[in-house]
Symmetry: C2
Subunit: 208 residues, 2 copies
DNA sequence: ACTTTATTGTGATTTAATTCACAATAAATT
DNA sequence: AATTTATTGTGAATTAAATCACAATAAAGT
């Protein structure tokens, strides 16, 4: 079982690039096309595929349709992925309205909050009380959630999610969540991303 | 000049942890406290510091105040970092209202859009026409921007930003931007983050 | 049928990142 | 003042990731 995060991210990128190529009418692709598309070397592409037992045709490259199928299978995205959001603030709202998820087979099923003013049981994506999360998650068999609450309530909301049966959290709160070790956490920390950018902008400035 | 992205990200995390410790009243810290706080090894912490010439006191650990100063200097965040946003949709709105930036010394100065319905020249954070970006960026000497427009307009908006003098972009659009090579791009791709999470949730499920 | 050409697949090699291990040493203790 | 103890700082060793290099080979051309 390969658990190199960068490698898995590359698989996602290959998949995205392949969708584009397919939509342009392409049927086959070579390792160096894919490499150019996502900005790596051709041998990196082949090595990644090799690691997961994906093979193409010598001289003939890879068939896009079959590659997409294999990548979907590996990434566990061969069906629609249903997710919930903890928190119904501005970020949650932005995510609920983000059009990019649909075409990736990601569906946000509901958001949960503690503030009764936010509740909207009959909205297209309902906003429900936190206490209803467990029932919802269990009956809809949901495994993945987004944590989009302010820092102060974040660990508590995460614990609610774990108790409900969520096994993976995409965490936007700027702290390190404590999690059971059968659960996965991916952090998106915007402050750190911006700070990182500032560093590299300064580095480039000094260089040039 | 160290350009290992993970290492720089760790420096930011150390800094965050140090703020917390300081706010709790701590004055000194040992490498293994920091290591625990951000989830790495103590020698990783010391090695990272050593790489940047940060030294502590043998037997005495590191003084938090001085560490914070040094980290701020390295990360180029010794002053307030002013940024703009391209796009004034839901995500931009969420970012403009995000309280976490202020305490990190990040200030969003303005957003820019092509849709006149979005304009709000006198709002606390003004929303201005794209054409005014260059003037604004030049006269405010801004170097960093967030790209929060839909995929179709993303490269165009990025080009506008580069033309205005922006040198670093935090990109939320799910594509690989073409950029001048004196400019830095950090990508935040939510689809990929979620897909990645799905993979690791599946891995953990098979393991357990 | 034979030759050339283009591309894969992967073992070997290189490079980069992390961890180990311990000398150096400053503070605390006796 | 000598001894013990705790911690840093870093070179050496290890591990992990990326790249190289080329044999294998399928298709195309002659």
């Amino acid at each position: 079982m390969i658990t190199n995060k960068n490698c898995i991210i590359r698989l996602s990128r290959y998949k995205n690039a392949l969708y584009r190529l397919r939509d342009l009418g392409f049927v086959k692709v070579f390792s160096d096309n894919l490499a150019d598309a996502i900005g790596v070397t051709a041998s990196q592409v082949r090595k990644d595929f090799s690691l997961f037992g994906i093979t193409g045709n010598r001289k003939g490259g890879y068939e896009i349709a079959s590659l997409l199928e294999k990548l979907g299978g590996i990434l566990g995205k061969d069906r629609i992925e249903r997710v919930i959001i903890a928190g119904a603030g501005h970020l949650a709202y932005a995510l609920m309205h983000y059009r990019g998820f649909e075409k990736e087979g990601i569906k946000i099923e509901a958001a949960f909050d503690i503030d009764p003013l936010k509740f909207a049981k009959n909205a297209q994506i309902p906003v429900l009380p936190m206490e209803e999360m467990k029932d919802f998650v269990v009956s809809n068999n949901i495994k993945v959630g987004v944590l989009a609450v302010p820092e102060v309530g974040a660990q508590r909301a995460a614990d609610t999610m774990f108790a409900a049966g969520i096994k993976g959290i995409l965490n936007f709160a700027p702290l390190r969540l404590k999690a059971p070790n059968d659960c996965a956490i991916n952090n998106v920390n915007l402050e750190i991303e911006l700070e990182n950018l500032v560093y590299f902008v300064n580095v480039l400035e000094k260089k040039g």
